[in-house]
């Protein structure tokens, strides 16, 4: 059954594309204010140390310096964090990673502030430290965080794994290691803050959650939230990394203390050194299947290195462990996931949120198991794929929009078409094909989350949508405009979406977890629908007909040959605006802390990817010849946006698979784009096909659901399976740099995996 929509489902360029190609879009760093100060942050050079004393007088006396601030200058609470507020804004007595912030300098120029920074004297007492999460778990390890190094332990318990492994005809196990990954938004962190005549605080920032900026700044300054207004400026990417408003707090503290506007703008090295990353994991996983190729049991231990602070570690770890069985039904599950503290840069939210790591481990073992059982990898996947009758690791059954089997069937055809290319492998090269799958619960996993939208219809047939989910480049403002336009019968350019101003847009929680389309999309649609109902009722009275006989289109209402402009209809009813509020709160149950069982997501998104790779035997370098990314999105609100998200997620996954790894010496060792390597245009697969599967989500707006992270989720797994297939050795560590693959090639023949049975 397909409904013809006017606006929704049509490809259309983003509403802000023109301002961006013209260079007119205003990012935070494009703003400056008269008398603005430039703020620099002094950061700890030590991974773990006690602060005995900080002497700021020499710095204060430098020319052009207006203020030097430390923890004791903070009037309110000295803590921050996107979820868990265990990091001090400025460290008072202890630094826990090299990069922790200790003091601020505010100068008339950036150069003056930089010079003065070096004049601050901090007397540190160095303390024992630990970088390796497995070492941090040992009994006599240095304590990286008070309360112990285990920040979180989350579990999944289903069935009886002893019995499950007992039924298995084949069991495989291995340890998998994934890298610490940087978001690498091209626009670094930046914030500008000023005070108005009443002493209220205005923040302009590059952020993923304007309302959290407001909350944190208010808490730090001991102000009511109503006295802080945040405007998210055009934001140059976030990918999960702009949820902790450190730059905003630093600028706000300086503005508060000096009464002058203050700007904080990180340079790339500071962004790499100080900002939180995606968790590196060590995963021990064991998987069994019976003779028919039915998965019987999985046993997994996931250790995520959350660094010095928990930040979002608990939620990331929960996401991982609840997704441990991927797109498969596995009756018996035991999984333990830990967020472990070390004296390294904190880890938190990043696109993927703990799913790509587990997908890499699970999908690798699925391939190994298929090999053991003499089955085609896709056949083993098909035999265990989830459908509308089978529960995932949390016990949740999705009643609709779960097209995994259809995707696997399509994958089979694609793999068949790639196979002949294996025969054309040039000398000195090895080719392989790999498949990877993933599933993802949409929205926050540990708690229910709500979106609220305020939609207003104006008499001239234009509409305003206020909703607090910000657009970081993913295109959500455009899609929200489409949703409202569709419901109200307007052209998209008659709808303005305001998501970026805490004084106007209601708090919708963070822009993360692929939740905007599903949650805010619904909220916007519901509010617009309420308006429509009111308008149709008014019109029905005018036309003396039933409301469902009235049509609403292009700012007018009509019934048969009678017509009335909205302006006239509003006028007759002495109305100047019709405003409605609506919200969406999916019925979810968070996972039980002891068993992980619940109904943690309103809907799920599934992805199946296929890669054909070629490995250079001399250098170990991996080249992707063909890549097929299949993604299930419910229904597309805007195919152009969907395609763009799928390309971007897929290439970010390619970095995770092949090149990206934040290294630690004392702090972050590779703090430039010359040493931290994200994919370039040359790394795009020779041929990349995006295949969108549309299977409507009945609870989503016009059948849509979230998908932005999903396109990244299976890439590491897919590429690892393809490379393993090419070189004949199981890859167990990402990224697959040339060096690493070259080493594996040399050690070929040594089986990494050991069969238990």
């Amino acid at each position: 059954m397909s409904v013809a929509y006017q606006v929704v489902g049509k490809p259309m360029p983003r509403t802000d594309a023109q301002s961006k190609v013209l260079g007119q879009a205003q990012y935070t760093d494009d703003l400056s204010l008269p008398r603005m100060l430039f703020v620099k942050v002094l950061r700890s050079p030590h991974p773990h140390a006690r602060i005995r004393a900080i002497k700021t007088s020499a710095a204060q006396k430098q020319p052009g310096i207006v203020a030097v601030l430390t923890a004791k200058d903070i009037p309110g609470e000295n803590s921050m964090g996107p979820i868990i507020k265990d990091q001090q804004i400025l460290c008072a007595d202890l630094v826990r990673y090299a990069g922790d912030a200790v003091a601020l300098v505010a100068g008339e120029t950036e150069q003056a502030a930089e010079v003065a920074l070096e004049r601050i004297e901090v007397d540190y007492e160095e303390l024992p430290f630990v970088f390796d999460p497995l070492k941090a778990l040992e009994p006599d390890a240095p304590v990286a965080h008070e309360g112990g190094n285990i920040g979180t332990h989350m579990k999944v318990r289903r069935g009886d794994i002893e019995a499950g492994f007992g039924q298995a005809a084949a069991v495989v196990e291995a340890r998998f290691i994934t890298p610490r990954v940087e978001h690498a938004y091209i626009e670094p962190e930046v914030a500008l803050v000023s005070l108005d005549a009443q002493g209220d605080v205005s923040v302009w920032s590059s952020t993923q959650y304007a309302h959290l900026d407001r909350e944190e700044v208010a808490r730090m300054l001991a102000l009511p939230q109503s006295r802080v207004r945040v405007r998210q400026m055009v934001t140059g990417g976030g990918f999960g990394g702009k949820l902790n408003p450190h730059a905003q707090c630093y600028a706000a503290l300086v503005a508060w203390k000096t009464g002058r506007p203050a700007k904080v703008h990180y340079h790339r090295d500071e962004s790499l050194i100080a900002s939180y990353k995606a968790h590196p994991y060590v995963i021990d996983m064991k998987l069994g299947a019976d003779r028919e190729g039915r998965l019987t049991a999985i046993d997994a231990r996931l250790v995520g290195n959350t660094g010095a602070y928990l930040c979002q570690g608990r939620a990331v770890i929960t996401k991982s462990v609840t997704h441990v069985s991927g797109v498969y039904y596995i009756p018996n599950i035991k999984a333990d996931a830990y967020a472990v503290h070390t004296n390294t840069v904190p880890c938190g939210a990043m696109r993927g949120y703990g799913v790509p790591q587990v997908a890499f481990a699970l999908e690798s073992l699925i391939d190994e198991l298929a090999d053991r059982l003499g089955l085609e990898p896709l056949e083993l996947r098909m035999r265990n794929a989830l459908d509308t009758t089978l529960p995932n690791a949390t016990g949740q059954i999705m009643p609709a929009s779960i097209p995994v089997k259809e995707m696997l069937a399509r994958a089979k055809t694609s793999v068949e078409s790639l196979r002949p290319l294996l025969k054309e492998t040039p000398p000195g090269r090895k080719r392989g094909i790999g498949v990877g799958c993933s599933s993802r619960g949409i929205g926050s996993i540990r708690k229910a989350s709500r979106s609220t939208a305020v939609v207003s219809l104006h008499p001239d047939g234009s509409a305003t949508v206020a909703c607090g989910h910000v657009d970081l480049g993913q295109g959500s403002d455009t899609m929200m405009a489409q949703v409202a336009a569709e419901e109200l019968g307007l052209d998209v350019d008659r709808v303005r979406v305001i998501t970026n101003d805490t004084a106007i847009s209601p708090d919708c929680e963070s822009t993360s977890a692929s939740r905007v389309t599903y949650l805010s999309g619904n909220a916007v649609r519901f509010a617009a629908a309420k308006i429509k109902t009111r308008v149709l009722d008014l019109a029905a009275r005018e036309f003396d007909c039933a409301a469902d006989e009235v049509k609403m289109r292009n700012g007018a209402v009509a019934h048969r040959e009678q017509g009335l402009s909205l302006a006239a209809l509003f006028g007759k009813n002495t109305m100047h605006i019709i405003t409605e509020v609506a919200e969406h709160l999916p019925a979810t149950t968070p996972p039980d802390p002891e068993t992980g069982q619940g109904k943690p997501a309103g809907t799920y998104n599934f992805n199946v990817h296929i890669a054909l790779v070629e490995v250079d035997e001399g250098t170990g370098k991996v080249e992707t010849l063909k890549y097929l990314a299949m993604g299930d999105v419910g229904k597309m609100l805007n195919p152009m946006v969907v395609e763009g998200q799928m390309h971007g997620g897929m290439m970010m996954g390619m970095g995770f698979a092949l090149s990206e790894e934040v290294k630690i010496d004392c702090g972050v060792a590779n703090s430039t784009f010359a040493t931290y390597l994200i994919p370039t245009a040359c790394d795009v697969p020779r041929e990349l096909i995006v295949d969108v599967i549309e299977d409507a989500e009945p609870t989503g707006p016009f059948g849509a659901k979230g998908f932005s992270e999903g396109s990244l989720d299976p890439v590491g797994a897919t590429m690892a399976n393809a490379v393993s297939n090419a070189i004949g050795v199981r890859v167990t560590q990402l990224p697959m740099t040339g060096e690493r693959i070259h080493q594996l090639l040399r050690r070929r023949g040594e089986a990494v995996l050991k069969a238990v049975n």
């Binding site: 760093d29 140059g236 480049g473």
Partner: protein, 160 residues
């Protein structure tokens, strides 16, 4: 600190005279001195290409060029690419092909592409990828950008 030096440079077709500090980069000069904030800075170390502008027709990372070095030269920034509200064909294909997400790389990418097409009006896909390898984009995966530059080449050659 050494004294500011006088430079004379043509920016987007207009003659500009200014006194600049000898260590001021072109990127800073454009953004802070001339308020041409369409030029973006993502790294200041020549690694991301966000600050790409055209200097005497060649693409340069303006974070690596000193303002004084442009004396007597001619600079084109993203603000100078469109004329009289008319989008440059590259700008139009960037919109039409869905290449714009966060947009932070976009000005540099478009100017990088312009330099590439000025030099090679009929580039292969490989040429485009190589030509843009110094311009990082974290949002789009480059796929549509490469497509768009190919499309722009056609338009600029007068084809359709």
């Amino acid at each position: 600190m050494s004294r500011p030096r006088k430079i004379r440079v043509t920016i987007n077709g207009r003659k500009v005279e200014a006194a600049v500090a000898p260590n001021q980069t072109l990127a800073e000069f454009l953004r802070c001195h001339l308020s041409l904030t369409g030029t973006k800075e993502g790294c200041d170390t020549g690694d991301c290409g966000a600050c790409t502008v055209l200097l005497d027709g060649k693409a340069v990372n303006s974070c690596l060029v000193l303002a004084v070095e442009t004396h007597g030269g001619s600079v084109t920034t993203i603000e100078g690419l469109s004329s009289d509200g008319e989008l440059h064909p590259l700008q139009q294909v960037f919109i039409d092909n869905g290449t714009v997400q966060c947009g932070f790389c976009t000005p540099g990418m478009i100017l990088g592409a312009k330099a590439l097409l000025d030099e090679n009006p009929n580039p292969s896909e490989e040429d485009i990828r190589l030509g843009l390898a110094g311009n990082l984009c974290r949002c789009t995966g480059y796929v549509n950008i490469v497509k768009a530059v190919g499309a722009a080449a056609k338009v600029l050659r007068g084809g359709k």
